[in-house]
C-alpha cells in the first residue's frame, strides 16, 4: 500500500497522533492523517499524476472504475482511454493514452468561468467545480484544450475529474489508480521530492499534453505517443485515433 505517495513512517506517526488525540478528547470522529509531506517539506501538497504507458494495456479499468465511482451519466466521461494506431503493415504500432483532467497549474477553464464556480484549490492544486454555482454556460468546455469537461445532464453544470478528492482526503488513492491492473498510474504529491511520483518524474523522460497551450498540466506521461491526424499527415503516415467517447474526434 505504498500507492498514495506519502512517506509511510510519517503517515503512521500522524495517524497514531490522530488516534491519540481522538482518544484524549474522547471524540468519536476519526482524525484522518494530514498529508504528511507538509511536515517534511513545509509545502502544501500539490497533487499530480504520472501515467507510465509502458505499463498500460488499454483495458479501460480506469474508465470503468471512474464511471462507477461517480455514477457518470451515459455518454459522458471523466476519464477515458484513447487508442492510437499508426503506420502501415508491417511497420505498425498501437499505443494507449489514458486521459483525464490535467489539473493544470494555469487552468484555462478557471480563467473564463463567469460565476467563479470553478477554481484551483490552494490546499492541493486540484481544479474543482461547484455544481451549485455553475450555470452550465459551457465556456470552460470550450476553453479546455484537453476536452476534459462535459455538462452533466443530471446537475446541468460542468463536470470533470477531480482526482477523486473525496477519496484522497480520506487517505485513499483515486479510483482509477486503485483499479489500474498494470500499476501504470502513479498518484501523489509533486511538492514532496521523496514521493514516488516525484522520483519517477525525476528519473524518467516525461511529457505533458499540449504544453504549448501554456496550461502547465500536472498529469505526466512516460512513453506517450502524441501523434494525431495532423502530425501523422505531415509524416505521411496512416494514423487512427479511437477515443472511446461519444466525441469520436479529439478536440
Amino acid at each position: 500500500m505504498s500507492d498514495v505517495e506519502i512517506s509511510t513512517t510519517v503517515k503512521r506517526r500522524d495517524f497514531l497522533n490522530g488516534i491519540a488525540t481522538a482518544a484524549a478528547v474522547g471524540a468519536g470522529a476519526a482524525i484522518m492523517p494530514k498529508p504528511a509531506q507538509a511536515a517534511v517539506t513545509g509545502l502544501k501538497p500539490h497533487y499530480g499524476m504520472l501515467i507510465d504507458l509502458r505499463r498500460c494495456i488499454g483495458c479501460h479499468a480506469c474508465s470503468v472504475s471512474c464511471k462507477a465511482e461517480f455514477d457518470v451519466p451515459l455518454g459522458a466521461t471523466r476519464s477515458w482511454v484513447e487508442y492510437v494506431e499508426k503506420g502501415d503493415y508491417p511497420d505498425v504500432s498501437r499505443s494507449f493514452l489514458p486521459r483525464l483532467c490535467n489539473q493544470c497549474s494555469k487552468p484555462a477553464c478557471v480563467d473564463v468561468c463567469p460565476t467563479g464556480a470553478t477554481w484551483k484549490r490552494k490546499a492541493d492544486g486540484v481544479v474543482v467545480v461547484d455544481s451549485d454555482v455553475c450555470i452550465g454556460c459551457k465556456y470552460c468546455l470550450l476553453a479546455c484544450p484537453y476536452d476534459a469537461r462535459f455538462i452533466n445532464p443530471v446537475t446541468g453544470s460542468a463536470d470533470k475529474c477531480d482526482f477523486c478528492l473525496h477519496r484522497v482526503e480520506k487517505g485513499l488513492e483515486p479510483a482509477c489508480v486503485n483499479a489500474c491492473i498494470g500499476d501504470a498510474r502513479i498518484f501523489g504529491d509533486l511538492n514532496d521530492p521523496s514521493s514516488k511520483i516525484s522520483r519517477e518524474i525525476a528519473t524518467n523522460p516525461v511529457t505533458v499534453l499540449r504544453p504549448e497551450q501554456g496550461t502547465e498540466p500536472n498529469v505526466y506521461y512516460i512513453a506517450a505517443d502524441h501523434s494525431d491526424e495532423y502530425t501523422a499527415a505531415a509524416q505521411g503516415r496512416y494514423v487512427r485515433i479511437d477515443t472511446h467517447r461519444r466525441q469520436q474526434e479529439r478536440k
Binding site: 493514452l97 484555462a108 480563467d111 473564463v112 468561468c113 463567469p114 460565476t115 467563479g116 464556480a117 454555482v133 455553475c134 450555470i135 452550465g136 454556460c137 459551457k138 465556456y139 468546455l141 470550450l142 476553453a143 479546455c144 484544450p145 455538462i151 452533466n152 445532464p153 443530471v154 446537475t155 446541468g156 453544470s157 460542468a158 499534453l209 499540449r210 504549448e212 497551450q213 501554456g214 502524441h226 501523434s227 494525431d228 495532423y230 502530425t231 461519444r246 466525441q247 469520436q248 474526434e249 479529439r250 478536440k251
Partner: protein, 328 residues
C-alpha cells in the same frame, strides 16, 4: 469534422442580435451628437430615433436566447443564471453580463427620451437624451467589442483566438446597426398626414432623407472596412503556422464552411449591398444630385446586410468549434 457544437444557434443568434443592437445604439447616439444641438436637438434626430428604438429589443431577445443554451436551464434549473449577478471577475462573460445589463438599462432609457416624434414635443428631454448619448457611444462599442473578446479569450480555440476578431465584430456590428436603422426607416416611414400636422414634424421628414444619405455613405465605408478586416484576419491566419493556419483553412477554398462564408457573408452580405449602395450614393457624392432610393432597394439592401451579419456569426462560431489545437 463532426465535432459536437457546444454553442449552437442560440449563441449565434445572440451574437448577431447583440451586434445589431449595439451597432444601432452606437450609430444612433453618434449621429445625434454629430448633428449639432439647438432647439431641434440636432439635424439627425429623426434617424437617431430609429436607432434608439432598434437597440434594446435585440439585446433583450439575444440575452433571452442565451439562457436556453445553458446546461442548468436544460437540466430544469431555470433561474440559475442569476448566479452571474452574484459576482464579477475577469472572465469576459462576467464582464459582458454586467455590460449587457447596463446596456439594456441605458438603451431603454435612451429610447424613452425619443418617444416624442419631434424633439420639441412631449416635454424637453434634450439634456437627458444628450447625456445618455454620450454614455451610449462607448457602451455600444464596448458591447460590440465584447462579443468578439468573448470568443477570442480562448487559446484552445485557434480560429477565435485572434486580436482582430473583436474588431471584425465591431465593424460588422456597426454595419448591421446602420442596416437596421435604414430598414426601419423604409418599413415604417411614418404616415403622410403627419407631415402637415406641425412644422416640427414636417422638418422631421425633411431631415430624415439627408440623414439617410449620410448613413448609407457611412455604411459603404463600414463595408469597406469589414472587407479589409476579413482580409487581414484570413491573411495573417494563413501566413502563420500550426493550429491557426489549419483552423482558418475551413473558410478558405475547399474548406467545409467556405461556400457559406464566401457566398453568404462576402458576396450577399457585403459585396452586393456595397455595389447597390455605391450606385445610389455616387450621384449625390460626385454631382450633388438628390439622393433617392426606391423602396424595394431600401428594404432589400439592409436585409442582405443583416443576413450577411448573421452568417458571419454563424460561420465564425461554427468554425471555432470544429477546429482546435493540433498535435497532442
Amino acid at each position: 469534422m463532426n465535432a459536437e457544437l457546444l454553442w449552437g444557434l442560440p449563441v449565434i443568434g445572440y451574437l448577431f442580435l447583440a451586434g445589431v443592437g449595439a451597432g444601432a445604439l452606437t450609430v444612433s447616439a453618434s449621429v445625434l451628437l454629430r448633428g449639432g444641438g439647438g432647439g431641434f436637438a440636432g439635424q439627425h434626430y429623426s434617424i437617431a430615433r430609429y436607432g434608439a428604438f432598434a437597440a434594446p429589443l435585440p439585446l433583450m431577445i439575444g440575452c433571452g436566447l442565451l439562457i436556453f443554451e445553458l446546461g442548468s436551464f436544460e437540466a430544469g434549473n431555470w433561474f440559475k443564471w442569476i448566479n452571474l449577478y452574484k459576482t464579477i471577475n475577469l472572465s469576459p462573460m462576467s464582464i459582458g453580463t454586467w455590460l449587457l445589463t447596463g446596456f439594456i438599462g441605458i438603451s431603454l432609457l435612451y429610447a424613452y427620451t425619443f418617444l416624442p416624434k419631434s424633439p420639441g414635443l412631449g416635454g424637453n428631454k434634450d439634456s437627458l437624451r444628450r447625456g445618455l448619448a454620450w454614455v451610449s457611444v462607448p457602451l455600444g462599442i464596448a458591447t460590440a467589442v465584447y462579443t468578439g473578446v468573448l470568443l477570442g479569450a480562448m487559446p484552445a480555440r485557434p480560429f477565435w483566438n485572434s486580436p482582430i476578431l473583436a474588431m471584425l465584430f465591431l465593424v460588422s456590428s456597426l454595419s448591421t446597426g446602420v442596416a437596421i436603422i435604414l430598414l426601419l426607416k423604409a418599413v415604417f416611414p411614418g404616415k403622410a398626414k403627419d407631415e402637415a400636422r406641425t412644422p416640427m414634424v414636417a422638418e422631421y421628414f425633411k431631415q430624415r432623407d439627408n440623414s439617410a444619405y449620410i448613413l448609407t455613405a457611412s455604411d459603404l465605408m463600414l463595408i469597406g472596412f469589414e472587407l479589409l478586416v476579413i482580409f487581414l484576419f484570413i491573411m495573417y491566419a494563413h501566413l502563420t503556422v500550426g493550429a491557426v493556419k489549419e483552423s482558418v483553412s475551413v473558410i478558405q477554398f475547399g474548406g467545409s464552411l467556405s461556400v457559406l462564408f464566401w457566398f453568404g457573408v462576402v458576396v450577399v452580405g457585403l459585396l452586393i449591398p456595397a455595389v447597390i449602395e455605391l450606385y445610389y450614393v455616387i450621384p449625390k457624392l460626385l454631382n450633388h444630385q438628390p439622393f433617392s432610393v426606391p423602396l424595394g432597394v431600401e428594404i432589400i439592401v439592409p436585409i442582405a446586410i443583416l443576413i450577411g451579419g448573421f452568417l458571419l456569426r454563424y460561420v465564425i462560431v461554427v468554425a471555432g468549434q470544429i477546429t482546435g489545437p493540433i498535435g497532442l
